[in-house]
């Protein structure tokens, strides 16, 4: 008989229960320390160890529970999970980190949704008294949030992996359709709240949540991914927290709340860095709306340069600020950039990197790529710091970034990106931009920067062009 209250010696049960609670409490404290230690690179790895220890304690505490019987199944699923998880963590290239993150949000949402579903059917069949108004309400919330995070993150994964077009997919009345779907799902949840035994409504709620998650993310374009991925991170945390309310488990509530607030903070930072609101990111479909503007511009001339000319300008400079963007990640140019950094540093050039908060496809994406290429992290500067240095900088080198360097954000009130904080590369003495062609950026707007007298356009693939510049500099030295 599983889970009986009067089973066995009462004392033995209590000892187990106490041990479980102690391990949960310790796990909760360790999770908080884990995040606290992550705040600086010096202590960050200790933070991971604290998190791992907390997780192991939580698992042991759970396995101590008397109702756990099927240890063989648990071991088997642990093994399968580890067999999939370890290769993902060890083999995945750093450029694919945004995809992996989206995928893990989707796994997290799925797990929460499935537990919610299982609990509903279990309780409705065997312990209907447990489905109080409150529990049913949270259960419905947990399930909706879990499943919409699942499909939403799966769509984000598809877009980041390139399996789905990263351009926004739009149709008329999209927002209306989405809200009607979510509205019906919530209405079903509320109805279940008062009539929990209407078991037929539960599958409706599941299907609608899955559909809403899919449709919510489909219209969102690639450059908005940093915000969306942070928001989904927050949802994944909140759904775990809701699960804690359903199961009356404080550890789940705490860990979920920590994740929820982390994702929320990151989404706010990302929104601010684009000078946009949540609603605008989720329902505005930025890229497509402003696409109309393409083609309206007259032909203008730009100055361009070859790798050897660009290389000699860089080598002659005293200070260089490199501004990387998603294009650097796509071209996998980070290792060549590192070689350029080495060559210039050896010649006494002061090289720093200016990182815009939304550069790349997730928060901190550029930092990880540059760290992977062995560039010391004290060379990676935040936008505010680098902007105060740029007026005294000889050369600003933009690699695969566009809208985050567009001076129109400062000057042109009619521009869709007006008000967005940018990296002021136009204030450097010379600007060089590595770009494949003159096509417009994600926002579909022309970049004034390219037509300035001090700007040199370096046309080509980022990896190849930086590689050619490295060759030119090193041959010059000998």
């Amino acid at each position: 008989m599983p889970g009986g209250h009067g089973m066995g010696p009462a004392e033995a049960l209590t000892v187990q229960a106490v041990l479980t609670q102690i391990s949960y409490l310790a796990a909760a404290a360790l999770f908080v320390f884990s995040l606290k230690w992550l705040s600086s690179p010096a202590t960050a790895r200790r933070g991971v160890i604290a998190g791992e220890t907390g997780m192991i304690l939580a698992i042991i505490g759970t396995l101590l529970m008397p109702e756990i019987e099927a240890f063989h199944w648990i071991l088997l699923t642990f093994f399968i999970g580890a067999a999939i998880g370890i290769p993902i963590a060890v083999l995945m290239p750093m450029t694919a980190v945004p995809q992996r993150t989206a995928l893990s949000h989707s796994f997290g949402g799925l797990a929460v949704g499935l537990v919610g579903t299982a609990k509903y059917y279990l309780w409705i069949a065997e312990e209907p008294h447990r489905l109080t108004h409150f529990v049913m309400g949270v259960l419905a919330f947990e399930t909706i949030l879990g499943y919409l995070t699942f499909t939403g993150s799966l769509m984000a994964f598809g877009k980041l992996q390139g399996w789905l077009p990263s351009r926004p997919i739009l149709y008329r009345g999209q927002n209306v359709v989405n809200f009607v779907l979510l509205g019906i799902a919530i209405a079903a949840g509320i109805y279940l709240n008062f009539h929990p035994t209407e078991a037929l409504l539960f599958p409706v709620l599941i299907v609608l949540s899955l559909a809403f998650g899919t449709l919510l993310i489909i219209p969102i374009g690639g450059a908005d991914m940093p915000t969306v991925i942070s928001l989904l991170n927050s949802y994944a945390g909140l759904s775990a927290s809701a699960m804690g309310f359903v199961l009356d488990n404080k550890l789940l509530i705490i860990a979920g709340a920590l994740d929820g607030s982390s994702g929320f903070i990151l989404s706010v930072i990302m929104c601010r860095a684009m000078n946009r609101s949540f609603t605008n990111v989720l329902f505005g479909a930025f890229g497509a709306v402003s696409e109309k503007q393409i083609g309206a511009k007259e032909e203008r001339t730009v100055r361009s340069a070859q790798p050897d000319e660009a290389a000699s300008i860089l080598a002659a400079a005293q200070s260089v600020v490199i501004v990387p963007g998603y294009g650097m990640a796509v071209a996998q140019a980070q290792h060549k950039v590192r070689e350029l950094y080495d060559q210039l540093t050896r010649r006494g050039v002061e090289v720093t990197f200016g990182i815009h908060p939304v550069a790349g496809r997730m928060p901190g994406h550029m930092n990880v790529l540059l760290a992977e290429a062995d560039i010391p992290y004290d060379r990676l500067k935040e936008m505010e710091d680098v902007n105060s240095e740029l007026p005294h900088t000889d050369v600003a080198l933009v690699i695969g970034a566009n809208d985050v360097t567009n001076p129109a954000a400062r000057t042109d009130k009619s521009s869709p990106i007006y008000g967005m904080p940018i990296i002021d590369v136009d204030r450097a003495r010379t600007v060089m931009v590595i770009k494949r062609s003159m096509s417009a950026g994600f926002a579909g707007i022309d970049n004034e920067l390219y037509y300035m007298d001090k700007t040199l356009m370096l046309f080509g693939d980022a990896k190849a062009f930086v590689g050619d510049m490295v060759k030119a500099i090193s041959s010059e030295g000998h």
Binding site: A27, F31, S34, L38, S40, P41, A44, V48, G51, I59, M65, E67, I68, E69, A70, W73, I74, T77, G81, I84, G85, I86, I88, A89, V90, V97, R100, T101, S104, F107, G108, L110, A111, L114, V115, A118, K119, L122, N233, G237, F245, D248, K250, L252, D259, G260, S261, S262, L266, I355, M362, P363, G364, N367, V368, A371, E372, D374, P376, Y377
Partner: protein, 101 residues
């Protein structure tokens, strides 16, 4: 009911604690932060283990098995990849710093 109120207190306090702690994380480490919180929120593993371990009905066992697998993937890959990323963040070697100044 008391339990419920206590749960809300726990939730609110943990959220504020999260805000305070995470606000201090350097933007440099935002990607590792997201993978770490992701691994931590895979604590839903705990709920899934109970569901699977109890073996109450076939449905709950099957759903529990999938949920444990999904959470376990997140736990393992989340912590490992966070550590892999953090190992890459290095300071400037002292000799190069000396040359520059």
């Amino acid at each position: 009911m008391d339990n419920l109120v206590a749960s809300f207190y726990v939730f609110i306090l943990a959220t504020f604690l999260g805000f305070e702690v995470i606000r201090r994380v350097s933007p440099l480490l935002h990607t590792p932060l997201m993978s770490l919180t992701n691994a931590i929120s895979a604590i839903s593993l705990v709920g899934s283990i109970v569901l699977l371990g109890e073996q109450r009905t076939t449905l709950t066992t099957v759903l529990g098995a999938v949920a444990v697998t999904a959470s376990m993937i997140n736990v393992v890959s989340g912590f490992l990849i966070t550590d892999r990323m953090l190992r890459m963040f290095k300071q400037r070697p002292a000799d190069r710093k000396g040359k520059q100044s």
